[in-house]
């Protein structure tokens, strides 16, 4: 039993906030945490300021749970600050783990993002050409906002990470398990992915699997999928075979194909490449033309294959960025 309460921080970088909600989704367990831990920083729920963190001794925090990717200079600054103050840093959720949905921005350039978001967006009033700049002179004073990086990083690109909890968001029971492990001091080897299985989603997926041969790929809305049969063999692109389980098979159980948020299997270097290899393997054709037609049924395959992990892929980003 710890003599003193655990000192913990929860932080969100470039993310949607869903991970914080996932922590809250542990429901009354959050009270158990509060019983054994002081939450020193949790912007979404607790009133703590950066300067409070800056004031801490190095290593004063026992645990930082960091969700969200690193998109701008603020994300990086706080990540580094928390790393300095914290004994353990956990990359929490797909964004911190692999770059997540924000990481998909690595297929495009910063300029393209700004153009889409600030210039060619239908909600922008005509004639407004304002785009954010790190420093702006306004009314005689200098305004600064965080610098928007050219690309998105996963957390371990900028700091040393002790553990990874995958998922978009991590499943509530896995969250609970992680906290329990820290509280109990039963920690796995550094660098481990915790709260996830060593096998693919299929292992837990209740759908029946047969030998696979596909002549046509469908988007989920295009067909009435058999609820009891493997989605992939029905021609619906499902990343389950290429994705760690641990999520509780939430998507395939609900008729939605897996998108791969739990990341690659332990032996896999590049989730998208492996997923690609598996998907084409089940194509039932020997005719190059027909094969092209079949893969026409897989629009934006790269976007699907790297939906949660482009910055952690081997190539990390488009060479154009």
């Amino acid at each position: 039993m710890a003599a003193r309460k655990l000192q913990i921080a929860l932080y969100w970088g470039a993310g949607c906030g869903g991970c914080d909600v996932a922590v809250l989704d542990t429901n009354e367990f959050i009270l158990d945490i509060a019983a054994v831990a002081d939450i020193r920083l949790w912007p979404i729920a607790v009133d703590g300021k950066y300067k409070d963190v800056e004031a801490m001794e190095d290593g004063e925090l026992d645990l930082t749970v960091f969700n969200g990717a690193v998109r701008n200079s603020e994300n990086e600054h706080i990540a580094k600050l928390l790393r300095q103050k914290s004994k353990l840093v956990v990359a929490f959720g797909s964004c911190a783990h692999m770059g997540g949905i924000p990481g998909l921005a690595n297929f495009v350039t910063r300029e393209e993002i700004f153009t889409a978001a600030y210039l060619h967006n239908p909600s922008i009033e005509p004639g407004n050409t304002t785009i954010p700049h790190p420093e702006t002179a306004f009314d005689g004073s200098q305004l600064t906002i965080p610098r928007f990086y050219k690309r998105v990083y996963k957390l371990n690109d900028v700091i040393d990470v002790d553990y990874y909890v995958p998922g978009c968001p991590p499943a509530a029971d896995q969250v609970k398990a992680v906290f329990e492990a820290v509280i109990a001091g039963e920690l796995p080897a550094k660098g481990s992915v915790v709260g996830a299985s060593e096998r693919a989603v299929c292992d837990d997926c209740p759908r029946v699997k047969n030998e696979k041969k596909v002549k046509h790929f469908y988007r989920p809305w295009q067909i009435m999928a058999d609820p009891d049969v493997c989605l992939l063999e029905q021609g619906i692109l499902c990343a389950g075979p290429a994705t760690r389980s641990g999520c509780g098979v939430r998507c395939p159980s609900s008729g939605i194909p897996c998108r791969g948020c739990y990341g690659p299997l332990p032996n896999v270097v590049d989730q998208g490449a492996k997923f690609l290899s598996a998907v084409v393997s089940i194509i039932d054709s020997k005719d190059p033309k027909e094969i092209e037609e079949i893969i026409d049924g897989l629009p934006d395959f790269a976007g699907y294959a790297y939906r949660f992990g482009l910055p952690s892929s081997l190539l990390q980003r488009s060479v154009r960025t």
């Binding site: 200079s73 990086e76 297929f107 610098r147 990086y149 050219k150 690309r151 990083y153 690109d157 896999v268 270097v269 590049d270 998208g272 490449a273 492996k274 690609l276 290899s277 998907v279 084409v280 393997s281 194509i283 054709s285 020997k286 190059p288 094969i291 092209e292 893969i295 897989l298 934006d300 395959f301 790269a302 976007g303 294959a305 892929s313 081997l314 190539l315 990390q316 980003r317 488009s318 060479v319 154009r320 960025t321």
Partner: protein, 144 residues
């Protein structure tokens, strides 16, 4: 100094590697830019290998297998044939030029063909210039 592209060649053991050997036994000269890695069948060539080679600095990747219908393992090359077009689309999204990754069928008797392919690909890559992948990965740390 002129740009000498680096090509990683993944060759199947039975047809293409033997074909490349034949180019040697026939003393057919070709550009020295290819570095061959032998696999048992082109179907073994995981897209990860191609991506890995590009990430490690290859300017091009050449995949060679038996001609369709001629595979030592009956149908291995069809698996390659299915993998390749989707891989190309994926690489296009990474901004990698279409010609950097090439799939060719080379039989054990086509030493000359192998040599011609290497020469042609080297030529094309010289025109394209160096691959940006490795530099893109290397400059990460400073260009935030």
């Amino acid at each position: 100094m002129t740009f000498e592209p680096k090509i990683v060649g993944f060759l199947c053991n039975w047809c293409s590697y033997t074909g490349a050997d034949l180019a040697g036994t026939s003393r057919i000269k070709y550009r020295p830019n290819v570095r061959v890695i032998r696999v048992m069948c082109s179907a073994r060539i995981d897209p990860t290998f191609v991506i890995k080679a590009l990430a490690e600095g290859a300017d091009g990747v050449l995949i060679c297998g038996c001609h369709p219908g001629d595979c030592h393992y009956t149908e291995g090359n069809y698996k390659t044939m299915r993998r390749y077009p989707l891989l190309k689309r994926l690489l296009a999204d990474y901004g990698i030029d279409d010609e950097r990754v090439r799939l060719e069928w080379v039989s054990a008797s086509e030493g000359k063909r192998f040599a011609d392919i290497v020469d042609d690909m080297t030529e094309r890559l010289c025109e394209l210039g160096p691959s940006l992948v490795k530099s893109a990965l290397a400059t990460d740390a400073v260009e935030r």
